[in-house]
Symmetry: C2
Subunit: 460 residues, 2 copies
Amino acid sequence: MARNTTVQADLHAPPITRTLAEFVAQHPSRGWSDAVDHEAHRTFLNWLGCAVGAAHHESTQAALAAVQMLQPAPQATVLGRKERVDMASAALVNGIASHTFDFDDTHLKTIIHPAGPVASALLPLAEVTGASGRQLIDALVLGIDVSCRVGNVIYPDHYDRGWHITGSTGMLGAAAGCARLLGLNADQTAMALGIAASQPVGLREQFGTMSKPLHPGAAARTGLMAALMAQKGFTASPRALEAPRGLLQVFSPKLAWHEATDDLGKRFEISFNTYKPFACGIVVHPGIDACVQLREQGIRPEDVERIELKVHSLVLELCGKKEPADGLAAKFSIYHACAVGLIYGRAAEGEFSDEVVTSEAVVALRRKVVAEVDERINEESADVTAVLRDGRRIHLFIEHAIGSTQKPMSDQALEAKFHGQADPVLGAAHATELLACAWSVAQAPDVRRLVGCAVASAQA
Amino acid sequence: MARNTTVQADLHAPPITRTLAEFVAQHPSRGWSDAVDHEAHRTFLNWLGCAVGAAHHESTQAALAAVQMLQPAPQATVLGRKERVDMASAALVNGIASHTFDFDDTHLKTIIHPAGPVASALLPLAEVTGASGRQLIDALVLGIDVSCRVGNVIYPDHYDRGWHITGSTGMLGAAAGCARLLGLNADQTAMALGIAASQPVGLREQFGTMSKPLHPGAAARTGLMAALMAQKGFTASPRALEAPRGLLQVFSPKLAWHEATDDLGKRFEISFNTYKPFACGIVVHPGIDACVQLREQGIRPEDVERIELKVHSLVLELCGKKEPADGLAAKFSIYHACAVGLIYGRAAEGEFSDEVVTSEAVVALRRKVVAEVDERINEESADVTAVLRDGRRIHLFIEHAIGSTQKPMSDQALEAKFHGQADPVLGAAHATELLACAWSVAQAPDVRRLVGCAVASAQA
């Protein structure tokens, strides 16, 4: 029997489910600045490269193998592969792939990786419905706005409780985006949000396992199905987000309701999206950035006597592995990350392969990296000095690493990152064509040509 | 970036994910008493009747319409209908149908409705894999044991926080059951539990909408997919349930870990399962029971001057609607429930139809029902006096209503309930055959004949 106790219920929460639903259903197409629209394209192509790049990873393989037990209809493209599956399964598998290398986008205010759940749901739906590229980008902006705004309401307390916020808000963004793409009205969109609200995904305990990338994948699938169910008349509470026993009060001790609606339709959360230049945790990025810059100044590994780092305490707490044995361990090694930055001028997924991690040159250089905590250095910065064999000392202070909000990756750098991921899977020619399709997607009558380029080539 | 705060983390939780996985993978087939095995059959056939009975409800229709957008392969039976869909979609749709009328089973210690998530996942999987009926019943007992034991760990605090515990533990029971049916080993079963742990379903805010029955349906689907993913090598934390950022610490302030494993393999939670004789909230059942007994004593509506009830306060708080306007409202009316009990001798879904609710005879009799709170009466009891026109007063005290643990429905009563639900959908002949198949399922080499009887007949 139902009990009536609710812990510290807020009975006067504003109707954010309704407000967000009206916004998603009614905001005009491209109702934002050129800068926001450009950021949406950057978000989309960064997500696309990540999903293609991990198309053959064992996590993607295992998820796809499970999905194939359902004998899915060949409705939609699995990015970077030859198989086709139903659109909901494509959302799941592409979402898993896009987060597998931890190389996707980050909304730094909430550490949500927003594209995974939203774009992974939208692209297969657009493929099936024949939606235009403009509709896809509109839905991406609005879907990401919903999940990140909900994230702003509850972050950081919700995350501190142990939820992986990317998945636990992502099903709302995916539902909102898909509702928009399907042309649902505000009532139906509220139902889609409500149906999704009952199905959050993601525990931080899963970090380090395949279930971490499962979170955006499952959130994408859930959001897509929620929108389809709402379209068919399935119902949910119209106050599913804010009611005393609704998602957010169940989820989080912090409830900054105003974050859901402040400047709604004026400020777009996708503006605050960032992209990782390096395929590892953000705390080591300033150190890598410095080492890449040293290489650009002409410093070669054989010139180096020692690399001295002064860093924030979190760097050694999270990434202090001195002698990582394999690629996975190397993701948690500032020593390895700095060594590959200086040797290769990058630290993409390839630089965290077992082969690179155990190569003689890398092992030798990372033993020359010395890191110490300096209380004056904040999380976003690093102080790096290269002590050379000829006695020179070259000093660099990185205030904000490349990829931060303050120092965003250039379009050119995003393209280079894209090629680094997509070329090995699609071949360079297809990858180049896919990139062109992504930049111009908003002008495309549908997404067919784009997804056609994202299929694994015979020669790859 | 990851934060390190966890609210009141229990760092010394026992390894319940592992213990439950070993139990599910290794417990012998039919490793329990005849009474437990019989209860499993009762649970199964009660679930089957509920799923068939709501096969054409608008919630089932809407969910099926959404699923059909995926062009699913015709792998598995949608109970009570002609359509076939992939096994995961069948789990979803059958799970929704089984809980739509709130007429399914209840594990009273946790108010979990355990069969919905577990049986809805198992039957389509058994249909596809060709599993035997014995394997199905084994998996049902073990799956229900997992979800109810997890429920015991966290109830009632988890429910009080706002989670619909049927869905938020159900994906674990479904994953465990499906892992057993697939013959996964303990390592794989732990992964299945872990994958499912990231995907809880269910908010109490959804009560009164179609998203309430969505919860067991989505939990069934999630658990089935988790087991398939684990079989294909997908990974999760092996401590996904108990770790400081695992499901249960994230979920609930109460963590009675011992409940997960006390008498594991000796005491089976399915023993405590109960079945509703009446299609409405449990608090009004004692009153209905009394009125059905009055009818059995020969009292006819036209004999009645007044029905006087003394009840627990919760009855009027939850079910105090005097003049319900339609079927949905009538579910919350002790007055309506008692009237139909006396007139029809039952209170199944049909007695909560709009037609019955507005019929003259029912309206007239319910106006003769007078209810008052009596502090001496507990939640499970009711004191009922029929005051007749001829001056007689007939008094009944119901200590425990029919359907409670203390006064379980007989097999015969369960069969009558089954026919009440299945006959209108399947026709009486098919329903009779289906019932026979359900009682003898453990002897069947596979479930083909059973699901064949559960398809909507041409004449129905």
